[in-house]
């Protein structure tokens, strides 16, 4: 409901005239009243306008609370603001990112059909970024009543006239502290003096749009985050699937390997038994028909078959070490080493000094770690056998990365470092059979066990200057 300033209705005037009884005085009173009335009317018009502006603002704010996209908010706001201000064009101009505020375009607009649209045209103003952006960022508002009479640069005038702008009111759209774009009110039909109420109104609208921009930015960030999380989740799922597949494949391979070793264990040994058995049968049943050379050959055949039988057994042991289940427990390596050394000492009267560091506790599979120490210590025992006096040491040293390296050191025949990489290959030997017996499977076994514990094994040595074998057991592999 509109207020009205009509003081001079017939009833009031009649009453005043009755009171006055003087035509001249009455005319004077009428004049005074008319003056007041005009003032009131102006005030009331102003108040009504404010009420309308408040309504528009209220609409804009209400819309911000609704789950609307930026485009809808901009469009509705442009329409309402244009109606409110009776302007010819209201547009939201957005700067391109990284253009240094020199380039951008209108992303939303409401325009009087008599004038052209400013939408979707790339607008370049090479002086804007440099000269004006900083000011707008501070909240500067530009109100131009007539672009031809404001001292604007030629290029600026040219851009504005392109859109038939005669007067404009430009308020920054800030997203947080950043100049996102401009809210532009254009008057195309004629110049226009922008009053302070209008400017304040547009400023408030721009503030609220800034809030909408901020919300939109937060939403976009959230969406990016959600998308990233979903992608990460998908990657994890894919990875898991891959892992599952790999596990399944590994299980199949393991099964095949088991079947293979089983068949090796059965089928490779059977012909060997025949060769050995019938060679012996020849020696026993037909001895008188064989001369010593013939007998020697048969013995060689038998010893070779037996060695091959041993090799097959060793290979099987090696493969069993690789596929047996692991049971991790705390293992006192010092105790294990002492026991092994005591057993070795029992085998002969040799003078060997064993030096074993106390209380070396490790996490691992007790049976497998015993195999490691047995192999390393009996190697040390074997390769010191030509010494009158020998010293065999078991201990641990800290590594650079803080983990522990265990070692078995001897002062035996050593080896040539040039061949150190060959030490751990199955059936690799650095000494002749006649020198030191062995089948070359011990260190290969050690390496496999250490690898299964997530560790590393290596050796140092020199010919005739002893050898040291190191191994680590990585903590991470324990869980």
């Amino acid at each position: 409901m509109r207020l009205t300033a009509k003081l001079m209705n017939q009833e009031i005037l009649a009453r005043l005239q009755n009171l006055c009884r003087d035509e001249a005085a009455f005319e004077q009173i009428k004049e005074i009243l008319a003056g007041y009335e005009q003032g009131y009317e102006q005030e009331i018009t102003k108040a009504n306008l404010l009420v309308e502006q408040q309504k528009t603002l209220f609409h804009v704010i209400t819309r911000l609370r609704e789950p609307l996209d930026l485009e809808t908010i901009f469009q509705a706001t442009a329409t309402e603001v244009r109606q409110m201000l009776k302007a010819d064009r209201v547009g939201m101009f957005r700067f391109y990112l990284d253009s240094g505020w020199d380039d951008g375009e209108f992303v939303s607009e409401d325009v009087d059909p008599a004038f052209g649209s400013a939408m979707a045209q790339k607008i370049h103003d090479h002086c804007f970024g440099e000269q004006f952006a900083a000011h707008y960022q501070q909240g500067r508002i530009q109100a131009v009543a007539d672009i031809y009479n404001y001292g604007l640069s030629d290029c600026h005038i040219q851009i504005l006239s392109q859109f038939q702008v005669r007067a404009n009111l430009v308020v920054p759209l800030l997203m947080g502290q950043k100049l996102w774009g401009l809210l532009c009110i254009h008057q195309c039909s004629s110049p226009r003096q922008w009053n302070s109420t209008e400017i304040e109104f547009v400023r408030q609208i721009a503030n609220h749009l800034g809030v909408a921009l901020h919300h939109a930015e937060l939403l976009a960030e959230l969406q990016v985050e959600i998308r990233e999380r979903m992608q990460a989740q998908q990657r994890v799922q894919a990875l898991n699937q891959g892992l599952q597949q790999a596990i399944t494949e590994l299980k199949v391979v393991n099964k095949e390997l088991e079947a293979f070793s089983y068949s090796v264990s059965h089928d490779l040994r059977a012909p060997l038994r025949s060769i050995d058995g019938f060679s012996l049968a020849l020696l026993e049943d037909c001895l008188e028909q064989l001369d010593t050379t013939g007998q020697d050959y048969l013995r060689r055949i038998r010893s070779a078959t037996q060695r091959m039988g041993q090799l097959i057994d060793d290979l099987l042991t090696l493969s069993r070490v690789t596929r047996s289940d692991m049971h991790f427990t705390p293992v006192n390596l010092s105790v294990l080493a002492s026991r092994i050394c005591t057993n070795l000492q029992r085998q002969s009267e040799r003078q060997v000094e064993f030096v074993i560091q106390n209380n070396l506790l490790a996490q691992g599979d007790g049976n497998l770690l015993q195999v490691v120490l047995e192999n390393l210590l009996s190697n040390a025992w074997k390769f010191t056998s030509k010494r009158l006096q020998a010293r065999i040491e078991f201990g641990a040293i800290p590594q650079e990365d803080g983990t522990r390296a265990y070692f078995v050191r001897d002062d035996g025949v050593g080896f040539d470092m040039a061949y150190s990489d060959k030490l751990f290959g199955p059936f690799q030997r650095l000494h002749g059979m006649h020198e030191f017996p062995g089948n070359g499977i011990g260190l290969a076994t050690v390496q496999r066990i250490v690898h299964r514990h997530g560790g590393r094994v290596w050796a140092e040595g020199n010919i005739e200057q002893g050898a040291t074998f190191y191994f680590t057991l990585v903590q991470e592999a324990l869980t």
């Binding site: 059965h266 012909p271 038994r273 050995d276 058995g277």
Partner: protein, 149 residues
């Protein structure tokens, strides 16, 4: 000296002719003169024991004193033969010695849990093999009191 045969039969279940010949030779060399019946796979072994198939009509009351059973056999394998023997009232107490090339832990466990009486791995060294056969023969044919069947 020949050990008295006293009608005690050995059932040798073995598909490898070399192993068969060597086992028979070893038994002979150790003067174990018992009758040796050879079955070349699991089916033949079961036929012999239950009087079926190629042994249809055989008097199954005449039972072997000991069965030397290889595990890896054509058609029906050794473990299955053992299982069926132990399931049947007529054969469940027959002494069975598993004689195999395998020393896989799984085979050992399976054999014992199915109720074999002994498990011997055929060594490559024939002297060891021969010795194992001799001990087997001595134990099962001479020393062991067989359950009344």
């Amino acid at each position: 000296m020949n050990v008295t045969t006293n009608n005690k039969t050995i059932l040798l279940v073995e598909d490898n002719p070399d192993d068969e010949a060597l086992a028979i030779r070893a038994l002979k060399r150790h003067h174990i003169g018992n009758e040796i019946v050879v079955a070349h796979d699991g089916v033949e072994a079961l036929d012999y024991l239950f009087g079926t198939g190629m042994y249809k009509g055989r008097d199954i009351n005449i039972k072997p004193t000991v069965i030397l059973l290889d595990l890896k056999l054509p058609r029906i394998d050794g473990l299955e033969v053992l299982r069926r023997l132990r399931e049947d009232e007529r054969t469940k107490l027959l002494p069975v010695v598993v004689l195999t090339t395998s020393n896989e832990e799984q085979d050992l466990l399976n054999s014992y849990s199915l109720g074999c009486n002994s498990y011997i791995r055929k060594p490559v060294d024939f002297i060891q093999f021969s010795d194992a056969i001799r001990q087997l023969g001595m134990y099962w044919l001479l020393m062991n009191e067989v359950p009344p069947l």
